[in-house]
């Protein structure tokens, strides 16, 4: 029973990884721009949730929505003010610009919110639940299920709607998309917005069970990179499966070997997969 509990817990956290990673893979696959500040987007989502709860007494659903909206707008803003301009420049300029953005966001958060950890109250989503003999924390259960649903929703948005079709058209062939009357800059701005929103919702969900700090984006950003590389650049389903696998490995290794070593196992698997299949699980050849 305990093994099952470890597995379920791993999948739940993995679903949250899948959610914010799907946002990273979207802009990475679409524009070949690596957003090093993606983990900071998640961190900001956590703070939006915290302040929406603290100042306006928002519930989980409302503060998750608020985080989605705020981070969507931030994503669009970052695209319009920064990415759009550096995209014409050399690769190094793109890397430096999003790395610069990472530093700006992280230290702005430090300055604005201080170095202390804050957290949402423990019982915000109720006590732990006993589901068929498996003991689960309510926040993690909600976070995992909602994250999975939103990730699938994102995939459906991209593959089943006209908007998604246009976004993917720009991603595949910018000029051909323009010949269809599509404005690439608009689609790219929306993609950045969606990317930000995914990070924002994920951040709000994580905030229900994890302490919030200005530096939390560091480890989350790293996880997003591993998930995206593992799943294949640009593939939301790839990010989803990779996220679940990584959550699972983390959970199993933390249980069997010890929490200190969980990262070692994640990266070992990551290197192994890249060695066998460099384009990731579902990336294009």
């Amino acid at each position: 029973m305990i093994l099952l509990q470890v597995i379920v817990a791993g999948l739940l956290i993995g679903a949250v990884y899948a959610l914010f990673s799907s946002g990273l893979t979207l802009v990475w696959g679409m524009m070949n721009v690596i957003n090093f500040a993606h983990g900071e987007f998640v961190m900001l989502g956590m703070y939006v949730a915290f302040w929406a709860f603290t100042l306006a007494h928002f519930g989980v659903a409302s503060f998750s929505a608020a985080a989605a909206v705020v981070l969507f707008m931030l994503g669009v803003l970052v695209y319009l003010a920064l990415i759009r301009h550096v995209m014409r420049g050399p690769m190094l300029a793109q890397i430096l610009s999003t790395f610069g953005l990472l530093l700006v966001l992280r230290y702005a958060a430090f300055w604005a919110f201080g170095a202390n950890f804050v957290s949402l109250p423990d019982g915000i989503l109720g006590p732990s639940l006993n589901v068929g003999g498996i003991l689960l924390s309510a926040p993690k259960l909600v976070a995992g299920v909602v994250a999975l649903a939103v990730t699938i929703g994102m995939h459906l948005l991209l593959t089943r709607t006209m908007l998604g079709s246009r976004i993917l058209a720009v991603a595949e062939d910018r000029n051909a998309a323009m010949l269809m009357g599509i404005r690439p800059d608009r689609m790219q701005a929306i993609a950045w917005g969606l990317s930000g929103a995914s990070a924002g919702i994920a951040g709000a969900l994580i905030a229900t069970f994890f302490p919030i700090s200005a530096t939390v984006g560091e480890s989350l950003g790293l996880i997003a990179f591993v998930v995206v590389t593992f799943g294949g650049f640009g593939s939301v389903p790839g990010a989803m499966i990779a996220g679940l696998i990584i959550g699972l490995i983390e959970s199993l290794s933390a249980y069997y070997v010890g929490p200190v070593y969980q990262d070692v196992f994640v990266y070992a698997l990551f290197v192994l997969v890249l060695w066998i299949r460099p384009r990731g699980l579902m990336g294009k050849a």
């Binding site: 006209m162 993917l168 062939d173 010949l179 269809m180 009357g181 599509i182 404005r183």
Partner: protein
Amino acid sequence: MPEHTVDLLKVEHLAVHYGDLVGVADVSIEVQPGSIVALLGSNGAGKTTTLNAIAGLVPASKGSIEWRGENIARQPAYAIVRKGLALSPEGWRLFTGQTVEQNLRLGTTPLADRKRAPEMLERVYALFPRLMERLRQRAGTLSGGERQMLALGRALMGEPRILMLDEPSLGLAPSIIETLYETLGRLHDQGLTLLIAEQSIQLALEVADYAYVLQTGRTVLDGTAESLAADPQVRRIYLGLETGEATG
């Protein structure tokens, strides 16, 4: 009708540069409403560059591109297609990761009235019943002939006034090329104006009313398709055809 509302496309002394390289140096062409105009020339003559400049994919460095009395030379491609000038680009450039239906629906973006999308879809299905059987298939899995149908269908979805085609017969089997040109003839009969860049000159001259010959980025010759096809000098020098060969 006042002059500015006539569907006249007029390119004058167009020059396009790719950095320091010359794409075209001096191209002037005119496409009258209701006509089929062929743009001929060998490899690297500047056919693609000319069409891409008209469509707004590459900026003109000199000259003017006038459509219905308006200079569109500085406008982006997504704005130009909404004015009724569609380009089916060289190599088709389908969205291979998306389905046939999605490709067609993307083609409806330039429609001013989005509610007309179903009607346009019906029209394209009537023209290419084959595409209807393939709706859920990814464009990347289609055969060459089907890809050409999809490229053409996709360009028609936006209901253009002029359709520009860049080497539509490239890489297709002769029988498929024949069907393609039959279809183009039918579209023309329904009132569509066509500007076709081709390397298979004989074919183009058969359907075209008027033709321009490009050579190293310049329009060096123009005339009615019949006169160009008949002129033995032209045939030998510019079109690279055997002088003894008969035209259809």
